[in-house]
């Protein structure tokens, strides 16, 4: 086997592992073994006879866990006493084409629509064209997230300088705001395109709790409002 193919294999192995860990951290149903698949197992499952890894075989779907469903359920309102969770099945696909245009994203959107997936994640080798990205808001409420392969080579949440981010449920958020007598606009903010916000798939209006190590206090928690 040549140097290039083995490099490509380990590259895709890392990407798949990070993607699965990301879904696990968001709260989807995945097993530990799946998230920490070994390179040998990866080769067995996803590499064909010629040694080239098959991106189409790497696609997977995952259901949200009950805890995740609870976290994403909005607070009951007078008009809507029994709100349903704003989350569902995620479908992850890895693009085998080197460049992505409108047609590819349209086809992926069509697939999400047909299979009734709530969220779609598309991992591409190069950035899609600018006009292709314009169709992402047009398919709401279906969520489509685009990740570049090179952004998933390393799991950024495991880096020692990245503090722990946890999403607050609407109930927790309400309690926090009451406890500190705040309006949500008075919280510090985090951008939606922040790498950790993208990792957790945060949406506008949610609040994340960020727990840092502190020399003086041991642990220090801060809260950020997603904008």
């Amino acid at each position: 086997m040549s140097e290039g193919t083995s490099q490509e294999q380990s590259r895709l192995w890392r990407i798949l592992r990070t993607t699965k860990q990301m879904c696990y951290d968001r709260g989807y149903e995945l097993t530990e073994e799946e998230c920490n698949i070994s390179l040998a197992d990866f080769k067995l499952q996803y590499v064909d006879e010629s040694g080239a890894p098959q991106r189409t075989r790497m696609a997977f779907t995952a259901r949200p866990t009950p805890e995740m469903l609870k976290k994403y359920t909005p607070l009951p309102r007078p008009g809507n006493p029994e709100p349903s969770a704003d989350i569902g099945i995620i479908h992850v696909e890895f693009a085998s084409e080197p460049s992505i245009g409108i047609k590819h994203l349209k086809a992926f959107a069509q697939l999400l629509h047909e299979k009734n997936y709530h969220t779609g994640m598309y991992v591409t080798q190069a950035a899609p064209t600018s006009s292709a990205l314009k169709i992402i808001p047009s398919i709401l409420p279906t969520v489509m997230e685009i990740f570049r392969e090179e952004d998933l080579l390393v799991n950024i949440s495991r880096h020692e300088l990245v503090p722990k981010h946890t999403l607050l449920s609407p109930e927790d958020k309400k309690r926090l705001l009451e406890r500190y007598r705040l309006k949500e606009t008075q919280l510090p903010r985090i951008r939606m395109d922040d790498p950790m916000a993208r990792y957790l798939g945060l949406k506008r209006g949610q609040v994340v709790k960020i727990i840092r190590k502190s020399e003086t206090a041991g642990r220090y928690a801060s809260y950020r409002w997603v904008v």
Binding site: S99, I100, G101, I102, K103, K106, T129, S130, S131, A132, K134, I135, S138
Partner: protein
């Protein structure tokens, strides 16, 4: 001492006075209409953007027929579809078509040079031209691109529509090779050459107005009479003059005069 003073509160009376309430509702109404107006503007902008993306999608599948240069119907539809485009939208269209493996010119079904030449395309033919199958197609697209308005469609005056002409209709991209113009033939004539050069400079035959050309005889507007530099005695310049000025000679008489004045002062 037993009479009571009626108690009057010094606090503000609860509830706004009627005129205040009225002013507030008027202000709210004004703010509401303002917000609504802005929201409509943004919505219109979004609608246009979606329309442009849809137009790009339609143009991705062009040409609809298998002819190398699309037929008349495609051409006229193409003109209609790119009406709302800005030049940058046309760039997006080229990018999309290249991703799809088609020449950037929507009426051509060949594959672009970025595909046919492979990775060398960028330094061989340049970034813009590598999205086309040939230089002719790149020229055609550039010709159309210059006709598009830089102003986004939602800010344009709806009364004014831009007219776009295709290069095939005008015949701008006629295949002119360099050899034709550089090699002089038998009846090569200087007047023709000068005329061509003038055209090259951007001078047209109509722009040449003989009335305004400078004549060879010069007519001064006011007659200037030449005067010799006047010396003290009205003669030619003397050798003692400094830049035409003759310093006055201090005579003995002058000195005497001054002395006399001084003596007067002293008195």
């Amino acid at each position: 001492m037993a009479f009571k003073v009626p108690v009057k509160s010094i606090l503000k009376q609860p509830g706004p006075r009627p005129d205040e309430a009225e002013a507030k509702s008027a202000r709210d109404q004004k703010n509401y209409t303002l917000a609504l107006q802005h929201a409509r503007k943004i919505q219109a902008q979004k609608d246009w953007q979606i329309r442009i993306v849809n137009a790009i999608q339609v143009l991705l599948d062009y040409p609809t027929t298998s002819h190398q240069t699309g037929d008349e119907v495609d051409a006229s539809k193409f003109i209609v579809l790119i009406q709302p485009f800005q030049p940058s939208d046309l760039d997006a269209l080229i990018e999309e078509r290249v991703v799809d493996g088609k020449c950037g010119w929507p009426l051509c079904s060949n594959e672009p040079r970025s595909v046919s030449l492979g990775k060398d395309a960028e330094w061989k033919v340049g970034k813009f031209k590598m999205g086309f199958c040939s230089n002719a197609c790149a020229k055609k697209m550039a010709f159309v691109k210059t006709q598009l308005s830089e102003i986004p469609v939602w800010e344009r005056d709806p009364g004014i529509s831009i007219s776009i002409t295709l290069p095939d209709v005008v015949g701008v991209v006629a295949p002119v090779t360099k050899d034709d113009s550089s090699v002089p033939n038998g009846n090569y004539d200087v007047a023709n050459a000068i005329h061509e050069l003038a055209l090259e400079r951007g001078e047209k035959a109509t722009s040449f107005r003989p009335n305004q050309v400078m004549l060879d005889q010069i007519v001064e507007k006011a007659g200037v009479v030449h005067k010799p530099l006047s010396g003290v005695h009205g003669a030619d310049v003397s050798s003692t003059a400094i830049e035409g000025y003759e310093p006055r000679v201090k005579t003995k008489v002058g000195f005497v005069d001054e002395d006399e004045e001084g003596s007067e002062d002293g008195d």
